[in-house]
Amino acid sequence: MYVIIVEDEPAILRRLARQITELLGNKLDKLRCFHNLDDAQDYINHQSIDVLFLDLNLRGKNGFELLSSLTASSFHTIIVSAYAEKAIEAFEYGVLDFIAKPFTKNRLQQALSRLSDTYQRQDYGIRYLSVKQASVTQLIEIRQIDYIVASGHYSEIIFNETTRLHDKPIQKLLPLLPLNFEHIHRSYIVNMNKVARLKAEPGSKYILELNNGQQLPISRARYSKIKEKLNAYKG
């Protein structure tokens, strides 16, 4: 795993680096530390990373101006900030976690566990997914999304009959999304609130039909779980 940390206070930066190294153990491939955002951004532009630990207020620079562009990237962002009251807003922009200062090692551990696929998602109310289009960042409201489909290393987000490309693969998007988003197929994540019905087709093919008539495939392995969920939603 490739981790970078942006923190302007040296002692806190040292602490973060030390504890992340201890917690990730041999899962950590590389760790880089930056005192300011400009250097970090230069680095990110040329290097692909997995996780960014970011302080929100770096000497007067507003983290929120950067958050939307960062969360549109392929890596996950974890905020480490003393502005605890900004957590909800940060989540709305699609950060993976928000660690309030002062933090404990346990809290750091909890945040790192979100990076793994097995992590149980919580409904923490993400409201937007940010996507970059021709260097402009656009915020897509989560509840408008119909479904997300894998597209190589990227994802395509389909909403209101529009398609936008996101830099994160769907495996990385899933932990960000609320519980009403289900992984129905290796390549599909669907917003269960938009589902009209479940259809069985000849040859043990299962199809999920959305309110707008769009039909999506369900993998056989996930069928029974989806059916159960759908009954819960519709019931």
């Binding site: 302007d8 602490r15 207020n57 200062k101």
Partner: protein, 569 residues
């Protein structure tokens, strides 16, 4: 409907009276008598003594015999239809009997040949002359008078003797009484109201002074107008004049004191001493009561004008309206001092007090705005400096050091608590000494040095003592430098204090990173650069009013903040 009708009627009545008195003042049909024939002591019957008799002596009414029983007589010529209805107005310090062509038309008190038999009459008398006696031709008016009850110090005199239109006489009396009663009522209410404000609302000296001023103005006007409004027995005239002097003195003394307090003059004692002496000199050096009163009130107005002009010049608390009303008073006074003391005095006194009232109410409003602003600034200081992110970041560092460098952790927590303690104390103050402010700045720079693991320095040059500034303003400038800049390691902050006469200049030079991108500043209040600047300006304005300048600008790799203000006298 009936009430409205009655009100209309009353208004009509007052309006008519007003018009009547105005027109009669303009087309005054009157005969003024200033000299008469005198026989003293009086013969047995004044009315029948022949005016051509050689015993008569011509006298001015301004100087009459004292403690005597005497006769006055004169002849007047009336033309056809000179008056539709005539009244005789006599103002005389004596009991009197008035005869018109030998007919007794009025008896005022009991005229007698000795003090024990005499009964004091009123000073002012208005008598309507029976219409059957008003034919064209020569008429003889005789007055039999005695003034045994006159005070030893009093001058036996007449303040006026004339024949006027009856409507004019009544109009004058009624108008004068209504106007006086109205103004007396207003002044008395002001006085009571401000006593209540002083005791029940706020112990402000200005309320007490204004209340006393209104009270003594009420007393002065009441004693002044008593003669016209209620009639005054002539033996009390001297007492009345003494009371008028006393109240004029008190009014003349309180008027400048009011403006001294209102304009927050720095030399109150000197001004009060000067006023007191000038008034005392006016009182003692002038032989006549009228001159005493005029010179006291005139000096008082002049002193009040000087105080107001000085305040306007220093621009701190000057009030144009006060200055202008006093100036008008002085001009009117200087043009016709005697008339001023009669009719216009009441209006002038009322106008000055009314303008004072307006300025006090404005002051009350300002106080309220200030106290609200002050509370808001206190809260802002606390909020800005005890904001969670500053504390949380600091606690994070403390936790790290407790584990890694326990000694440094202890020192850091010590510095942090020192700064917090000072800030909490500062937040309830409106002013601190420069030494205290510098101590707070040093504390903050030490904490930031710990946090950024470097050694920032703070150099202070110039004399710090006896300088007072609003709390945490330099601290806020330093804090701004940290929150909006990437300050290089081991950077230096410099505070230079310069004094030139009364002018004090505080110049803070902070490191500044020029590539700072304004776009990246937050719209978020907690980290917005404008908040700190606003706090500094509001605090400076609250303490120095308009007597300060504040500049804040970048110059190369430094940020410069300059505060200039006048030292306390």
């Amino acid at each position: 409907m009936l009430g409205l009708g009655r009100m209309k009627l009353n208004l009509y009545f007052i309006f008519t009276l007003f018009q009547l008195s105005l027109t009669s003042f303009v087309n005054a049909q009157s005969i003024n008598i200033s000299q008469m024939q005198l026989i003293s002591p009086a013969p047995n019957n004044c009315s029948t003594v022949d005016i051509n008799n050689s015993k008569w002596k011509k006298v001015s009414l301004r100087m009459l015999p004292k403690h005597q029983h005497f006769c006055l007589a004169t002849q007047i010529q009336l033309e056809e239809n000179s008056f539709s209805s005539a009244s005789l107005y006599l103002s005389l310090l004596a009991s009197s009997k008035i005869y018109w062509d030998g007919n007794l038309i009025h008896e005022n008190g009991v005229v007698a040949k000795s003090r024990s038999l005499e009964q004091a009459g009123f000073v002012d008398v208005v008598v309507q002359i029976p219409s059957n006696l008003l034919h064209a031709g020569t008429h003889t008016i005789a007055i039999e008078a005695s003034n045994f009850h006159l005070h030893t110090d009093a001058i036996p005199t007449s303040y006026g003797f004339r024949i006027i239109e009856t409507s004019q006489a009544h109009g004058y009396i009624v108008l004068n009484s209504i106007l006086s009663a109205f103004i007396l009522g207003c002044l008395f209410i002001f006085s009571t109201l401000f006593q209540l404000l002083f005791w029940l609302y706020q112990r402000q000296n200005i309320y007490q002074i204004f209340s006393l001023l209104c009270f003594f103005s009420t007393c002065l006007l009441l004693t002044e107008k008593w003669r016209v409004m209620f009639g005054l027995s002539y033996d009390l005239q001297n007492l009345r004049l003494q009371m008028v002097m006393l109240f004029t003195f008190l009014n003349s003394l309180l008027l400048p004191i009011f403006y001294l307090i209102y304009t927050q003059s720095s030399f109150k004692t000197r001004w009060i001493f000067l006023t007191f002496n000038v008034l005392l000199a006016s009182l003692l050096l002038n032989p006549e009561y009228d001159d005493k009163g005029i010179s006291m009130y005139f000096s008082s107005l002049l002193i009040a004008l000087c105080i107001n002009l000085l305040a306007l010049k220093n621009s701190n608390k000057g009030h144009w309206a006060n200055t202008i009303i006093i100036l008008i008073g002085i001009i009117v006074f200087a043009v016709e001092p005697t008339k001023f003391t009669e009719d216009r005095f009441t209006l002038a006194l009322f106008a000055i007090n009314a303008v004072m009232l307006v300025s006090i109410i404005q002051e009350m409003k300002n106080n309220r705005v200030h106290s609200l602003a002050s509370v808001r600034l206190e809260a802002e200081l606390l909020k800005r400096n005890l904001q969670p992110h500053f504390l949380m970041n600091s606690l994070m560092l403390a936790i790290e050091w407790i584990e890694e460098k326990p000694n440094a952790a202890a020192e850091f927590v010590q510095a942090l608590s020192e700064e917090l303690r000072m800030l909490v104390r500062f937040s309830s103050l409106s002013v601190v000494s420069l030494e205290e402010e510098i101590a707070l700045c040093r504390c903050h720079i030490a904490i930031m040095s710990y946090r950024y693991d470097t050694n920032y320095t703070f150099n202070v040059s110039g004399l710090q003592h006896s300088i007072f500034i609003p709390p945490a303003i330099i601290h806020t400038q330093i804090e701004n430098a940290f929150s909006h800049n990437e300050i290089p390691d081991d950077a230096n902050f410099t505070l230079t204090i310069t004094r030139e006469k009364n002018q004090i200049t505080l110049t803070l030079i902070s490191p500044h990173t020029t590539e700072l991108n304004q776009r990246l500043y937050s719209k978020d209040e907690a980290i917005q650069p404008g908040i700190g600047e606003r706090y500094i300006k509001s605090r400076l304005a609250e303490y120095f009013h308009n007597n300060f300048t504040y500049q804040s600008f970048a110059q190369g790799t430094t940020w410069i903040n300059i505060i200039q203000f006048k030292a306390e006298a």
